[in-house]
């Protein structure tokens, strides 16, 4: 860190999930200008795609709503959606950041009235629902989208359908000639809050996610259980829509595995216990088996685990299943060894949920943050500031803590002081 005064007092936050939002809002509320760069058309990131948080089983959109209200009240936050950082030049206090924006084909005067969606005919895989359903090619990302603006899918922009979509907008908010843009911003500090992506389940070949329809991942389970998900919140067997009576939740699907992710993703145990609660809440007679190596319910989260252990229909099996096989009717059979009883089991389930781990998504951005650990997480040191899961596997509360601390560091950088 140099002693010279920073050229820019603006803080850039890369990523608009819960960590990015928190870093931006906390810095803005301390009196600093913030530029947010978000890859998708809306803020909210992964948490917006979740049904509920553990251990309170409350809805993530509740906290997002407060944060969006804070952003609306603050005049200090500018937001660039569909944007990524393409290049970073300079150093702390005087960065020049190249931001690349993909076309939305919808201008800022969009009122989200929905006329364009009515006009659209073709459907695309819905990214908000991990492709578990489709949406119209002119769509609102979801009902809590922020900014509340439509998106026209690039697939239809240059087609006659695109023209019909354009014609449907009474206020001329559709711009089919949107080329996207690339521009430079001068900022004093950068907070990398680029979050995570689920570890690809197709890599876990023994668990057969790719070819058995009733094997799903934990993030897919969140969508299944969400009232605004593909099934309006009904947890069903994907193959036939039947209500699952026997559900297996497999921990460490990718995590704590030197063939996949060497680290523990921290959140999966609790997330799976939450999934057990989802199932038990909806299906009174359902039995849920949680397969695990170690149950990592740290601090007060222990009580969440204890409350679930009190449920006779939720069983915890200390075993990392060795494989999933197609059983009767194509339903998954989970095979492995119960390490406490030595029983070698093969049990049939209606639904198997893989607790896939969290992987840093920052590597896609070309490692622009500067300092990383071996796993691709941003390591906060020197000029590099990471926040949330971009900096390591954290739960929501810890991400917010990390992001608040990141805002504190960024402020010091743009103020020309350093703790």
């Amino acid at each position: 860190m140099t002693d010279k005064q920073p050229r820019s007092r603006t803080i850039m936050v890369v990523g608009g999930g819960i960590a990015g939002i928190t870093a931006a809002v906390e810095a803005a509320e301390a009196g600093y200008d913030v530029v947010m760069v978000e890859k998708s058309p809306t803020l909210g990131g992964r948490v917006a795609q979740m049904n509920r948080y553990f251990p309170k089983l409350c809805h993530p959109t509740c906290g997002l709503e407060i944060n969006y209200q804070r952003i609306k009240k603050s005049k200090r936050i500018s937001l660039f959606t569909l944007s990524t950082v393409a290049a970073v030049k300079g150093s702390a206090g005087a960065y020049t950041v190249t931001v690349k924006t993909e076309p939305r084909f919808v201008k800022t005067n969009c009122t989200a009235c929905g006329d364009c969606g009515q006009a659209a005919e073709s459907e695309i895989a819905d990214p908000f629902n991990y492709g578990m359903k489709t949406v119209k090619a002119a769509y609102l990302p979801h009902t809590m989208a922020f900014p509340m603006r439509y998106v026209v899918a690039p697939e239809v922009a240059k087609t006659p359908e695109g023209e019909r979509i354009k014609a449907a907008c009474k206020i001329g908010a559709i711009d089919l000639d949107d080329q996207g843009s690339s521009f430079e911003l001068e900022v004093g500090a950068i907070v990398w809050a680029t979050g995570w992506k689920p570890y690809p389940a197709e890599n876990l070949t023994a668990y057969r996610w790719a070819d058995l329809p009733n094997v799903i991942t934990n993030v897919e389970m969140e969508r299944l259980a969400s009232p605004d998900g593909p099934t309006q919140g009904r947890i069903v067997r994907p193959s036939d829509g039947a209500v699952p009576k026997k559900v297996a939740l497999i921990q460490c699907a990718g995590s704590r595995d030197l063939n996949h992710l060497a680290y523990c993703s921290r959140i999966c145990c609790l997330a799976s216990m939450k999934h057990a609660a989802y199932v038990r809440e909806q299906v009174a007679e359902a039995e849920v088996d949680v397969y695990y190596i170690d149950l990592r319910a740290h601090d007060k989260l222990e009580s969440f685990m204890r409350r679930l252990k009190a449920d006779p229909q939720v069983r915890f099996v200390k075993s990392k299943p060795s494989r999933v096989e197609p059983g009767e009717g194509g339903n998954p059979t989970v095979c492995g060894e119960n390490t406490l009883t030595r029983e070698v089991y093969a049990r049939a389930y209606d639904l198997v949920v893989l607790a896939t781990g969290m992987q840093a998504s920052v590597s896609e951005d070309g490692r622009l943050a500067g300092s990383y650990d071996d796993y691709g997480f941003v390591f906060t040191e020197g000029e590099t500031i990471g926040a949330g899961v971009a900096s390591g596997p954290l739960d929501v509360s810890m991400s917010v803590q990390s992001a608040t601390a990141a805002a504190c560091k960024a402020i010091q950088v743009v103020s020309g002081v350093r703790g």
Partner: protein, 751 residues
């Protein structure tokens, strides 16, 4: 005050003009309010906004807009410092009700009446900025967290007063050997660099450290807390960071794990001290330690001791085992564990310890003999196995938060203020984990943590900083971990949640930023989270006050004290602007510049209540603007429909709803009243902690009153709403309308 000139703007865009008769709304403004209004086909467009701006130039000083929900287009319709009032004709009218229907039209007209009535009852808030403000930050605790907090606060330009109870800075880290890994590749214990941190604080001119010093009394409010110290001095600070850390669980309570049976059964903290001193020997005879067993969860995860997991004991034992092996490679180290908890990248340390030959035994310790034989119910071997020939047994005792001052006796009063959060002993009611099912359990009585209060707050609501059920001074909220129930006082480090050194230092940064926001907001008279920037604050007309003390008791944040004559005194910067005091006051003496019982009641009365011959009921829904209103907006976005007979009045929090609003509604002929807000109770969702709980409590007493008025108690109800209820709430509303219709019309209608 300057004359109020309200500009009224109606939007016909987004289908509003096609679904309702907007000209008739202009008529309502003109005929009933004698006000001219302007309609635009797309008010949020550049033309529409330019039209409003031109009028602002021409002298209007308040704007009322009837268009979309107040949650959208805030940037387009933001004309600060001009106050903008919004009526929603889109999400909650045309998108959720049939087009060109007389009931929808009536709903739209009432929306205009309500906002125009509101316009006459509010004024732009004048912030509380009287007096002097301090930007100095008090940090309590001179350990890792406190030192980091002090350094960070100073780096943000603030003066810091750092208090440390003992006679040295550095806290427990001074008595520790190495640190847990905190840098890539995270595989090995790291050097203890507490000296650097201490030096950075002692060398900082902005930081004044006082050793051997504690707080004896705290009064005042954010921006000017007056703190009495044990050295007799009195200091004024703007915000407080509590970083008082932790202490090990009292091992003398762990006789079942052998503590006391032999001097060679030691705690993890004792071993840490020996490692720090560079000499680990048997306390009994000074012989070297060649074989050692670590017993995990010593006190933790045990309902008879500490119900929670202390989070760092696993990694700490691994670190200690590695240090022993590093000093003497032939050391036999055993770790007896139930769950190996090395989350995140700490998994690397687990692998390092395994590779170094540490032996892990999953199971519970059954007995520890005087000869140090530890008998383990080994779950993986499936036998009770005596572990013999040990030189030392180390109990990995858990962390107890220093959320109280253990040097002081427990105060008689205020212990009930400590209770909070979910009782970990209570199982989920089966098939009702969440959603609508109420928590059908009695709360386990919570023992107050031993010791006196840390801050000795001179608050009406007691001296303690409220803590959660497990004794940690943490936030109940997942999304807002720094929100305590005492504004301007933030906790960080292990007093908040069990955490290690690196995380505590990070936590200190977060808490300090919140403290900095607190002092900066205080001097501007602006509210903190969640109504950030709100300049209004409760004003009490003492001439009408009956000294009933409801406001001082019910404030979720302890913002209102009592003077010598037991009149309430508002400490403005402690206030979070939820309005629970306003809802509590039986005689409407508490109001905000822009929010009052009078305003709500007037808006309720502004609605045209149809007579019983119309066959149409009129039902009032007072909906919390935090979760219920957004959920209803989203119901509109999804084009979910609900009865047009309801009138929705957004409120800051259900806690702010006075029973007088309900009686006013019933007296003007509404047939039913619903309060729609967040989940109350231990597992509350209320953004103001207990606003919705207070509303429920008040409502529970309404039944008798209604009966005495010859009204059915079922006419008034409270509905729990979450933000994800966009599909459910319309059904809840329709069911209530049906229920009211079945009961029949309000007999007071027309009187």
């Amino acid at each position: 005050m300057t004359e109020r000139k309200t500009g009224i703007y109606l939007c016909g865009g987004c289908g509003i003009g096609e679904a309702i008769d907007v000209a008739a709304l202009e008529g309502v403004a003109k005929k009933e309010f004698k006000l001219d209004s302007k309609t635009h086909a797309c008010l949020c467009g550049d033309d529409g906004v330019a039209m409003i701006r031109a009028d602002l130039e021409a002298g209007i000083n308040q704007v009322a807009i009837a268009a979309c929900s107040s949650r959208v287009m805030t940037d387009r319709f933001g004309f600060e410092p001009i106050q903008v009032l919004r009526a929603d004709l889109r999400e909650k009218v045309i998108w959720s009700h049939p087009a060109n229907h007389e009931d929808t039209q009536a709903l739209a007209e009432d929306s205009v009446r309500m906002v125009l009535t509101m316009a006459t009852k509010v004024k732009a808030p004048e912030p509380y900025v009287e007096g002097e403000w301090s930007s100095r930050i008090l940090v309590m605790g001179g350990g890792v967290t406190g030192l980091a907090a002090a350094a960070q606060a100073a780096a943000l330009g603030h003066e810091v007063l750092l208090l440390e109870r003992s006679d040295r800075l550095g806290g427990r880290a001074l008595d520790s050997s190495k640190r847990l890994p905190h840098r890539p590749p995270y595989a090995q214990p790291a050097a203890n660099d507490i000296g650097d941190l201490v030096a950075s604080v002692t060398g900082n001119a902005k930081i004044t450290a006082r050793l051997g010093c504690t707080v004896t009394q705290t009064s005042g409010m954010p921006g000017r807390f007056v703190v009495n110290l044990s050295d007799g001095s009195v200091e004024t600070v703007g915000a407080i960071v509590v970083a008082t850390g932790w202490r090990p669980y009292d091992a003398s309570k762990l006789g079942h794990l052998g503590y006391g049976a032999s001097p060679d059964v030691v705690t993890g903290v004792e071993l840490e001290g020996m490692l720090k001193a560079g000499k680990v020997t048997r306390k009994s005879n000074g012989a070297p330690v060649k074989s050692v067993a670590f017993v995990q969860c010593a006190g933790s995860r045990d309902p008879d001791h500490l119900p929670y997991c202390s989070s760092i004991c696993c990694a700490t034992s691994l670190k200690q085992a590695l240090e022993l092996i590093e000093a003497e490679p032939a050391t036999n180290a055993y770790v007896v564990y139930e769950e190996m908890r090395t989350p995140g990248v700490m998994e690397e340390l687990y692998r390092t310890a395994q590779a170094a030959g540490v032996i892990f035994m999953k199971g519970k310790v059954k007995t520890v003999g005087a000869d140090l034989t530890v008998t383990v119910a080994d779950e993986l071997i499936g036998e009770d196995i005596p572990l013999a020939g040990l030189d030392m047994v180390v109990l990995a005792t858990g962390m107890v938060p220093n959320s109280t001052n253990t040097d002081a006796p427990s105060p008689a009063e205020g212990a009930e203020q400590l209770a909070g959060d979910i009782d970990p002993e209570v199982p989920f009611p089966v098939a009702g984990y969440c959603g609508d099912a109420p928590a059908a359990h009695a709360k386990r009585p919570q023992a107050a943590p031993e010791g006196g209060s840390l801050l000795n707050l001179q608050y009406r609501q007691g001296p303690h900083l409220p803590v959660l059920h497990d004794g940690f001074a943490d936030s109940h909220y997942i999304c807002f971990p720094y929100e305590t129930r005492r504004t301007g006082i933030y906790t960080a480090g292990p007093v908040r949640r069990p955490m290690d050194w690196a995380e505590a230092a990070e936590d200190a940064s977060g808490a300090v930023l919140k403290a900095v926001q607190a002092v900066r907001s205080a001097s501007a008279g602006a509210a903190l989270h969640p109504r950030v920037g709100d300049l209004s604050f409760p004003k009490i007309n003492l001439n009408q006050c009956t000294k009933c003390k409801r406001c001082t008791v019910e404030c979720p944040f302890g913002a209102i004290d009592e003077d010598e004559q037991t009149y309430p005194i508002v400490n403005a910067t402690r206030c979070r602007r939820c309005g629970t005091c306003m809802g509590a006051c039986p005689v409407r003496t508490i109001s905000f510049d822009n929010y009052s019982v009078d305003m709500l009641s007037s808006m309720i009365k502004a609605v045209k209540v149809p007579d019983e011959f119309s066959g149409k009921p009129r039902i009032l829904i007072m909906a919390c603007e935090n979760d219920a209103i957004p959920a209803l907006d989203m119901a509109g976005i999804k084009r979910n429909q609900w009865s047009a007979h309801v009138r929705i009045l957004p409120v800051r929090c259900l806690g702010s709803v006075s029973l007088l609003c309900i009686s006013d509604a019933l007296s003007v002929g509404y047939d039913g009243v619903m309060m729609m807000g967040c989940k109350p109770g231990d597992d509350y969702q209320c953004h103001f902690v207990k606003g919705s709980a207070m509303a429920a409590e008040r409502l529970s007493k309404v039944g008798e009153t209604l009966k005495s008025m010859m009204l059915e108690p079922e006419r008034v109800t409270q509905a729990e709403a979450s933000i994800a209820d966009a599909d459910r709430l319309p059904k809840v509303i329709d069911a209530f309308v049906e229920q009211i219709t079945a009961i029949g019309f309000n007999p007071f209608k027309g009187f």
